[in-house]
């Protein structure tokens, strides 16, 4: 018998959670797992391939991936500086600004869509001059989809990165400055690498949220196949006309999200495995 293995097993037994906790946790796992099992159970597997490769499905899939990646990129470009200012820069009214920027996190997305309309719509606060001056029209366009997704998804990245920046040891940055690094150089070479895990985690969360965005998108960008009809919209629409297709599309979305979460967790997120590791 391998002594080390026995020792590990005995020490795991020593710290095993109480039975009641194990039972409740198992119920929670079942609560999450059952809907997915149900989905897999109801999918018309024999027609799955043909349903998936219909033009509607493929177009929605491509549009979803494209727009969600754009939304993630915009969230990083604007979200990291925003998180930096919120975490590091004391200014009057910071709490109000912070609440404002994170509002869409708790808002019903449909309300977010309505609000977007009043600002960036054809007759909106900014939408009107945009259209009159440049002829740019955001609603009911692919850019509108990206805008709606970014509006809903960016707070996830901001929250994650802001928390990382707040918890970051600032002394290496100070050291960098004394070594001749400008603020910008120290940010790129010292701060950014240090918050990389949080940045990736935040980007993944934002991306997943953008991929699943429904309410704000359909309100602000509408439901035009090939232009604004993303996967969630296509699923919702297909539910009435073609339930089988809705099921297949749902499974595809779950597979993509699940795959990304699994592959990222261990490598970059500092993963659940290492947090609870037996050391």
């Amino acid at each position: 018998m391998n002594n080390q293995a026995r020792g590990r097993r005995r020490s795991a037994a020593l710290r095993r959670p109480p039975i009641a906790i194990l039972v409740i946790a198992a119920i929670a796992v079942a609560f999450f797992a059952l809907p997915f099992l149900g989905l897999l159970w109801r999918v018309p597997w024999s027609d799955a391939w043909s349903l998936l490769t219909t033009p509607t499905s493929l177009t929605a899939l491509r549009l979803s991936i494209e727009t969600s990646l754009w939304a993630t990129a915009l969230s990083i470009v604007f979200g990291v500086p925003l998180a930096w200012v919120l975490a590091r820069h004391g200014f009057p009214g910071r709490r109000i600004v912070r609440a404002l920027c994170l509002l869409s996190l708790v808002l019903p997305p449909v309300v977010g869509g309505v609000a977007l309309f009043t600002a960036y719509g054809r007759r909106g606060l900014l939408g009107d001059p945009l259209f009159e001056t440049f002829g740019i029209r955001l609603p009911f366009s692919m850019a509108g989809v990206v805008l709606a997704q970014t509006f809903i998804a960016m707070p996830f990245l901001v929250l994650t990165v802001e928390a990382a920046l707040r918890g970051l040891d600032r002394r290496p940055e100070d050291a960098a400055r004394t070594l001749g690094a400008s603020r910008w150089y120290a940010f790129r070479r010292v701060t950014l690498p240090a918050i990389r895990p949080a940045l990736i985690a935040g980007a993944v969360l934002a991306w997943a949220r953008a991929l699943g965005e429904f309410g704000a998108t359909i309100t602000f960008a509408g439901n035009f196949p090939g232009r604004t009809q993303t996967m969630p919209l296509a699923v919702y629409l297909a539910l009435e006309s073609n339930p089988g297709q809705a099921l297949v599309l749902s499974v595809v979305m779950i597979a993509i999200s699940f795959g990304v979460l699994l592959s990222l967790r261990d490598r970059w997120l500092g993963g659940a495995d290492s947090i609870g590791a037996d050391r």
Partner: protein
């Protein structure tokens, strides 16, 4: 004047008001307990904290003037800092850590790496270049931090507790490296420490900080002989004897012998003796494992609560006694007196000075 700082900096519960001047090439030790403002002084000089009143000049250039709203950013001050916790960049290899300052100043990568390799060699760290900070010991990290601070060839070097949190051996190694550096290329240095051995080994002059004020400054020997406060007395009063240890006895270059704890490893060593461990007697004291020498009282420093006597003889000693004790001995300047120290009261550390 390489460093000329006269300033006040205000914190919610603390005010640091100091005047510090360091000549070119001089090493000034700043001694003081935790919370005395030592680290704040370093931050101010490095440009990481702006002052509230006064001026700071480095090499004749005003870098911070509260009244005239002058402030030179830390990256433009050309000050090398070795931080207490090293503050190395964990995402970079050791060689890239050392090359960082050169890269930040625009040097090409290959060139900066090559320079960094030279610094690694100078500190006998060449085998660690590709490794990351997390795999190095505390003493090695300190040497990397020192090499990184020196790689940009700063005109002023600030060392924050370079030997704290190290074991005796690693402390001695860092002191050796700093001493060698001093000999090879004298850099104006401000050394912050609470370990008087650092000051004894490296400094020309000391400044003692307490609660945000300079309470005493001058040559270390003078400060040790005439401490202005209980705290300074405790901190700087050490008597040092250098020599070779063999079988529990340290022999110095003049042949004087000092009995040290029996388990002291042999080799070149520095013994330190606290003044309170030295007792004085009119007749030669008896007892095993006890050092005793006939000494001459060269200096007497009387305070209401203590008397400090500088003694010359086979080994130089500082002794401290109560005023009552001094009176009952009838201690006067020029007296001959027996001084004794228990072997167990002698602290010995390895001497790596070149």
């Amino acid at each position: 004047m390489s460093i000329d700082a006269h300033f006040t900096i205000q914190r919610s519960n603390f005010e640091l008001r100091v005047e510090v001047e360091v000549e070119e090439g001089e090493v000034l030790a700043v001694l003081g307990p935790n919370g005395s403002g030592k680290s704040t002084l370093l931050q101010v000089l490095a440009g990481l904290e702006p002052i509230d009143a006064g001026t700071i000049s480095l090499n004749g250039v005003v870098v911070d003037d509260a009244e005239r709203a002058v402030f030179v950013m830390p990256e433009l001050r050309h000050v090398g800092v070795m931080f207490q916790d090293c503050s190395l960049f964990n995402n970079l290899s050791i060689v890239d850590n050392i090359a960082f300052g050169l890269r930040a100043r625009g040097m090409r990568k290959a060139m900066a790496r090559q320079r960094a390799e030279e610094w690694l060699e100078r500190f006998s760290l060449e085998s660690f270049g590709r490794r990351h900070p997390s795999s190095l010991s505390g003493g090695q990290l300190q040497r990397v931090a020192l090499a990184r601070a020196l790689a940009t060839e700063p005109s002023v070097l600030l060392l924050d507790e370079p030997t704290s949190a190290l074991d005796v051996r690693a402390k001695a190694e860092i002191r050796r490296d700093l001493l060698r550096l001093r000999r090879e290329r004298p850099v104006t240095t401000l050394l912050i420490t609470h370990d008087p051995l650092d000051a004894f080994a490296l400094a020309d002059r000391v400044v003692v900080l307490e609660e945000g004020r300079v309470v005493q400054s001058g040559a270390l020997d003078d400060v040790a002989a005439h401490p202005q406060s209980r705290h300074i007395a405790d901190m700087v009063g050490l008597s040092l004897v250098r020599g070779e240890v063999a079988e529990g006895v340290l022999t110095d270059s003049s042949g004087a012998q000092l009995i040290v704890p029996a388990d002291t490893p042999p080799g070149r060593s520095v013994a330190s003796i606290r003044p309170a461990s030295v007792s004085l007697h009119r007749t030669q004291p008896e007892g095993s494992a006890r050092n005793s020498w006939l000494m001459t009282v060269a200096d007497l420093d009387r305070h209401p609560e203590r008397v400090r006597a500088r003694l010359t003889g086979p080994v130089p000693l500082l002794a401290e006694l109560t005023p009552a004790g001094a009176d009952s001995l009838g201690l006067v300047l020029g007296d001959s007196i027996w001084a004794s120290v228990k072997a167990s009261e002698v602290t010995v550390s390895p001497d790596l000075a070149p």
